[in-house]
């Protein structure tokens, strides 16, 4: 492990624990069942990281089960001068749930996994109130009998929580046509960083005031903790077609993506996988993915039957015009499910190539996909790394995965350098830092590539309205010197 050097001295105190957590833990234990407050060394170790490569250090971890308990936890933490770090399932990839404190005190991690109930379903209005710990896929399963589903579908949907989806404004393959989480959240009941409770948004279409709901979604835990979430449920489409298209080159696959959109189609999903990941996935799921393809597209079309059939034909025509080697339309639901299993288990299949991966999440204009992809391969080669690409091509959302074995000496430095080069390449063509994973700690110090100081200052003003003391998930999203010197890099206490 290597601490990121720059800025470390300024914030060195963040790592000095002092271990003065007994009184804090006792108060938290009095506020909720004692077995839901954890401060043993092993337990704290488990919560040092999320699914990113970064690590921090919690002071206490607690698992409230009610709104009152969340309010109590926040209030107690603040009274003890501790920051609060909200956490859902810990599947985040940008270090958003990595515990980093303020003023040398390790933070209180508030985990929402015990708040896992669907509270109310209004099938007529197509709305459900859920607690933040409800798992994404469980929500869709619980409303399936009504012909409804929750549209955002991250690859981690079996394990990620709706609260985490709200925090990160999560996406997924089917967000191309139906929009990311923000478009599917109507209202939020939120414990603010001062412990008070506020309703943001409402069940009606035009609640009065600023769109605080919209401001909160995607705020990565820096503006409070959502304790009740009203989500919009979407009707299942009457017809669905899933098409696998096989290409001899990345370029023809990418020009097919552009051609499909330019033909006036908005597929429900439009995913690309390159040669290496396609064959790793095939080894894993045996779905008949072509092992010799340079790239495949997985295209899903849904809606009313005639439109779906016409769109399927257009996809086949555009693919043929771009020189596709083959077009396979899933014959039934089982085949369709198998193709999607291949796509959604891509990250698991990586383990067949190497034990570790570092996943990026940039967005570029669709029409620049070919040039950016070729640059991504060049950057990986330059840093002597393997890269695979499996991503949401329809909205230009790249997911280059650098695949490596962290036991190899010096490899982490090359992985981080390659990642930085890839981000720069995406930004150079008008792209952005993240499409769906968030900024967290990981990309915080790249924000200046996209935004001016004035732009970042405006974002900071919004954050400060919610959290004037910057005690809720501090040091995330915005590169900020506040309270910790002028940090130029990931704060000390967060380890890579």
């Amino acid at each position: 492990m290597a601490g990121v050097a720059s800025g470390e001295a300024a914030c060195n105190s963040a790592r000095q624990t002092g271990g003065v957590t007994d009184a804090l833990a006792a108060e938290l234990s009095a506020a909720m069942a004692p077995d839901r407050v954890r401060s043993g060394p092993l337990e704290l170790t488990l919560y040092r990281r999320d699914a990113s490569l970064l690590e921090g250090q919690p002071g206490v971890v607690c698992f409230p089960s009610t709104t009152d308990e969340v309010q109590a936890a926040v209030t107690i933490a603040r009274r003890h001068g501790r920051a609060v770090v909200p956490r859902g399932s810990g599947t985040g990839l940008a270090g958003g749930a990595v515990p980093v404190g303020v003023d040398g005190a390790e933070p209180v991690v508030i985990v929402t996994t015990k708040m896992d109930r669907v509270l109310e379903i209004d099938a007529d209005a197509r709305v459900a109130w859920v607690q933040p710990g409800v798992l994404n896929l469980d929500l869709s399963r619980q409303v399936a009998h009504l012909g409804l589903h929750f549209a955002p579908d991250p690859s981690s949907q079996q394990s990620c929580s709706v609260g985490g989806n709200v925090a990160n404004n999560s996406g997924g393959p089917h967000c191309l046509a139906y929009g990311v989480t923000s478009a599917h959240v109507l209202a939020l009941e939120v414990v603010l960083p001062d412990g008070s409770l506020a309703l943001l948004g409402d069940l009606d279409p035009e609640p009065p005031g600023y769109d605080l709901r919209g401001a909160f979604v995607g705020s990565e835990g820096t503006m409070g903790i959502a304790v009740r979430i009203a989500v919009r449920l979407s009707p299942d489409p009457p017809a669905v077609r899933t098409v696998l298209v096989d290409f001899a080159s990345i370029e023809t696959a990418a020009s097919t993506v552009t051609g499909i959109i330019a033909a006036g189609l908005v597929p429900a999903a439009l995913e690309m996988m390159d040669a290496r990941i396609t064959s790793a996935v095939e080894d894993y799921v045996h779905a008949g993915f072509p092992r010799d393809a340079a790239a495949v597209l997985l295209v899903e079309l849904d809606g009313l039957p005639a439109g779906v059939e016409a769109a399927t034909q257009i996809v086949a025509d555009v693919a043929a015009a771009n020189g596709a080697r083959g077009v396979r339309v899933a014959a039934d639901e089982a085949e369709r499910a198998l193709l999607w299993k291949g796509r959604k288990s891509a990250f698991g299949a990586i383990a067949r190539i190497a034990p570790d991966y570092y996943l990026h999440d940039t967005v570029v204009p669709r029409t620049r996909l070919v040039e950016v992809l070729s640059e991504v391969y060049e950057i990986a080669a330059r840093h002597r790394l393997l890269v695979v690409n499996v991503f949401h091509a329809g909205d230009g959302n790249l997911h280059p995965l650098l695949v490596f074995d962290r036991r190899e000496p010096g490899v982490m430095a090359r992985v981080l350098a390659a990642g930085t080069d890839m981000i720069a390449a995406c930004v150079a063509v008008g792209g952005v830092l993240s499409g769906e994973h968030g900024i967290g700690l990981e990309k915080r110090d790249h924000m200046g590539l996209i935004f001016s100081d004035d732009d970042l200052d405006a974002q900071r003003r919004l954050r400060l309205a919610f959290d004037p003391e910057q005690a809720c998930n501090p040091h995330k999203v915005l590169p900020s010197g506040s309270g910790c010197g002028d940090l130029q890099s990931v704060p000390a206490g967060a380890w890579i």
Binding site: D204, E206, G209, Y210, G396, G431, D454, L464
Partner: protein, 313 residues
């Protein structure tokens, strides 16, 4: 089709000129098409009037985005988009006068919201002028983006009290091959909503229903059959009563309009907007939420110089 912009820039003046016009002190009020001037209350009459720049900067059909200056009318923008077979999910009552910036700043959707979604979901990037007279960028010119806090959502519906929109990037959508309004008598509009898949609009005045179907011709035909007899194509939806715009949960609409005289209101079924002649009562905002509003306004516009008199709550 390539990704190069289909339109050359047709704009009237640089954004910096707009920022300079707004300046750094004294109250300013931004004027669009004055089509929704009363929303949020009359602005301070002594405030200096400013107008946002106009023109479509670039339409990129293969990216499904358009960059446009805030003072452009919705009709002018839509005419440019139509050349590329696309349209925009902004649906104001007077598109020939309403400006894109005005529609976003007010944030109210039109009668197609059921199918097209709320106004807020169309905004991808905003360049706005702050109370300090600085040009600020929020969001980005791509269809999916979680880079930083979502100031775009905050700006939509903020009535120009946080910053003044100068240029925006909007998500566009394909123009539907077929669009048909149908009208027929209906005493249960919810039945129509259940029978149809994602209709673009269902309006109801207590006597008749108007349904907008858009999409592939064969699907529209099939949906017309699903509606059943008694519905005939009409040129346009009913005029919307003015004076009152009520917002309620879609499942509350039936009970609320039961107290109204049929034919005097138009309800947006499945959305929860009811248009009628009397204004809704003002709604109480929770203390914690109200305090958040005050802090946001104070942080973005400490001297209260942006659109003074306009109130969002």
């Amino acid at each position: 089709m390539t990704g190069r912009p289909q339109t050359a820039a047709r704009t009237d003046r640089p954004l910096e000129d707009f920022a300079a016009e707004i300046g750094t002190s004294d109250p300013v009020v931004v004027v669009g098409g004055r089509t929704q001037w009363g929303v949020g209350g009359e602005p301070d009459p002594t405030a200096r009037e400013v107008h946002a720049p106009r023109g479509v900067v670039a339409h990129e059909p293969a990216e499904m985005i358009v960059r446009v200056r805030a003072g452009t009318t919705v009709a002018e923008l839509d005419a440019v988009l139509a050349e590329g077979g696309q349209t925009i999910a902004l649906d104001p009552a007077h598109p020939e006068r309403a400006t894109v910036g005005g529609v976003l700043a007010v944030g109210q959707s039109g009668p197609r919201r059921l199918g097209w979604g709320p106004v807020r979901d169309t905004l991808l990037e905003a360049r706005f002028v702050s109370a300090e007279g600085r040009l600020i960028r929020a969001g980005g010119p791509v269809v999916k983006n979680v880079t930083g806090f979502d100031l775009c959502r905050l700006l939509v519906g903020s009535l120009g009290t946080i910053g003044l929109l100068a240029e925006i990037v909007l998500r566009v959508r394909p123009r539907p091959p077929v669009a048909v309004w149908l009208r027929g008598a209906a005493d249960d509009p919810d039945r129509l909503r259940q029978a149809l898949f994602r209709p673009s609009s269902i309006l109801w005045d207590g006597i008749d229903c108007w349904v907008l179907l858009e999409g592939h011709p064969a699907d529209v035909e099939a949906e017309i059959k699903a509606i059943g007899p008694g519905f005939d194509p009409v040129a346009e939806p009913p005029p919307l009563p003015s004076g009152g715009r009520w917002s309620m949960s879609p499942s509350a609409v039936r009970n609320v309009v039961a107290t109204l005289e049929p034919g005097t209101f138009v309800a947006e079924v499945g959305v929860g907007i009811v248009h009628e002649s009397t204004a809704p009562p003002s709604r109480r905002v929770q203390p914690a939420t109200a305090a958040l509003h005050q802090r946001i306004k104070a942080n973005f516009d400490p001297t209260g110089r942006l659109n003074p008199g306009r109130m969002v709550t």
